[in-house]
Amino acid sequence: MTRRTLRLHVALLAAVVSPVLHAESQEHSHTASVSEVIPVERAPGPAVLRNESRAPHTVEVTITAEPVRLSMIPGKSTVGYAYNGRVPGPLLEVYEGDKVIVHFRNRLPEASTIHWHGLHIPNAFDGSPFHPVAAGADFDYVFTLQKGSAGTYWYHPHPDHNTGSQIARGLFGSLIVRDRNDPLRGIPEKLIVLSDNRFRPDGSIDIADPESMQGGIDFENGRECSHIFVNGQIEPTITIRPGEVQRWRVINASAARVFRLAIPGQTMLHVGSDGGLFEHPVEVNDIVLANSERIELLVKGTGAPGSATVLQTLPYDRYSPQTRPQDWDKPRDLLKLRYTAWPLSRPVVIPASLRAIPAIDTSLAVRTRVFALGQGFINGKLHDMNRVDETGKLGDVEIWEIENIVGMDHPFHLHGFQFQVIDRDGKPEPFRSWKDTINVPKHSTVRIIVRLADFAGKWMYHCHILDHEDHGMMGVLEVN
């Protein structure tokens, strides 16, 4: 067997969605200079960043962003951007209380940043457009993860007006903050990073000319693309033992696509979202996962030994009637779920109670802000880096009323602070969770409550449809 076919064989055999590796495992990524051409191969599951530090409670890693040549679709090679030579970028795995030092080396031909999506960390290290890292420059992101922050996050570039194209070229990676007393410890985990992309016949990444018809449709819908990837691969296979329970952490890293995840014929336990676990598991048939949101699921292996099923995305109408894509109303398979022949003999116990999430008391709110989401702007305004749209006081509790006045969904993201949902169109949220991104469906209003705790500075809030964000559907909240 040649080395090449062996590699292919291994790639096929390995659960494409590889189990989350532990921090001590080696990272196998290539790093390449701009001129070096990386050998063409299928990207494996996310590698884990190697901790370069020996100090206790310290995680020190290096992330290099640079142009690479990869095989993203079968039979073609594609020049894109990658973190440490991989798409998706490697997993950063840390514990609550850890001090994290990330040496970021920007080897792209343009300015970039790393935004730590969802983390409650000092403003200077948020990687927002206010802190660009020039082409060829280095920057150290240094932060400590607070108690209670355990959850699934992700990191991606956030340069001014240029986030969409850099993520489309391949810059996104996953981040897990762990709790040493995780109530679900011992349950096997899978990390699932969902993304999509579009390619020209020669394999190059197709980013439409903004003046073209496709450019117009991409502006409306966000750049929703034909090829869906799971950890950089198309329709991979996950294996599960009959009777087993797996914890899936799912990240929607796509520019605009909203997934509605379901496994036909079986329910799932929804156990967490952006900011970690819920108080209790919630049994669901399907879950809507807007772009940049994360979920944690418990998938029960209820199938017969040797059988197979699929994880699907069901139709979800986030679109305005003018620009619904042709096949929006058809389900699509995301991955195969294959049952092994060997059932698990011992039943898995799922705790009924996961953790306590204290509610932020609405009577503490000192003000209510209203944000009316138009198509590509907020409160009638396009984003301006030289303007502060809202000012807040450090430590204040605030209610934000986010009203979508147009006929398509907009996922709203606030940097730096996790919030709780109070109600949607006046209907109280049935259970508490920590969120940093909330999908605001067409013509609806969501009220959230947030404490502007700990960290002053200029924080972005924006629509996370990247085309809308880059167009200017973003504002600045200055906390003093």
Partner: protein, 219 residues
């Protein structure tokens, strides 16, 4: 002394009364101008028959004045299906609730956004609140991919009205109407939001060529 003090107090009180009477009787120019502008806007909306489509009521004293469509009988079918109901494409369009209700009407729009809707045909919920100085997409704040108001809204005719008339209509909508809740479903349309229907060739240039300019108009 006491009398003197009370005299001062009386005088002071009288001065205050006089001052407040002066404030009461002094014509508030801005307020008067606004009232006149709103009245003009009302006249324009009556004379342009806005109510017939936007609620099916042409008399402001009747229920439903400018509150938008209420039910399928007031909707429009745009496209070949106007003639043959089975023909495609077929777009259902619905005149909006123009009262300043935040959730279902024009409450979230500024008067400038309403002005831009009448002048340039741009949907206010999908066009930022900016001054537009060009009609070329991507220039002078005109959107690169404009979202035009759905037919049969004849904005291409209203756009030739003077600035102050269009501002008066916006002033009446925002300042002369009470918010009424009536949720109107979104209008359908082609993916270019009617851009190919509103080319210069089809609707003429803006501003219109100076008079006289055609065989029909007297030299």
């Amino acid at each position: 002394m006491k009398r003197w003090l009370s005299g001062v107090a009386v005088m002071g009180g009288a001065t205050m009364v006089m001052l407040s009477v002066a404030a009461w009787t002094k014509p508030d120019k801005a307020k008067q101008d606004r009232a006149a502008q709103i009245a003009r806007g009302r006249f324009l909306m009556l004379s342009h028959d806005c109510g017939d489509c936007h609620g099916g009521v042409v008399d402001p004293s009747q229920k439903g004045w400018l509150t938008g469509v209420r039910g399928p009988s007031q909707e429009f079918k745009i496209g070949p299906c106007y003639v043959d109901p089975a023909a495609k494409p077929c777009f259902t369009t619905r005149p909006k609730n123009l009262t300043p209700d935040n959730a279902t009407g024009t409450g979230r729009f500024t008067e400038r956004q309403i002005f831009n809707a009448l002048r340039y045909g741009l949907r206010p919920e999908e066009t930022p609140d900016v001054e537009i100085t060009s009609t070329t997409p991507g220039q002078g704040n005109f959107p690169l991919h404009p979202h035009y108001l759905a037919p049969p809204m004849p904005w291409w005719s209203w756009r030739h009205m003077p600035d102050e008339d269009l501002r008066a209509i916006a002033a009446y909508i925002k300042g002369g109407l009470k918010p009424q809740t009536n949720k109107v479903l979104d209008s359908e349309g082609p993916p270019d939001f009617w851009a190919s229907e509103y080319t210069v060739e089809k609707i003429g240039p803006y501003p219109a060529k100076s008079y006289p300019q055609s065989e029909t108009e007297r030299q």
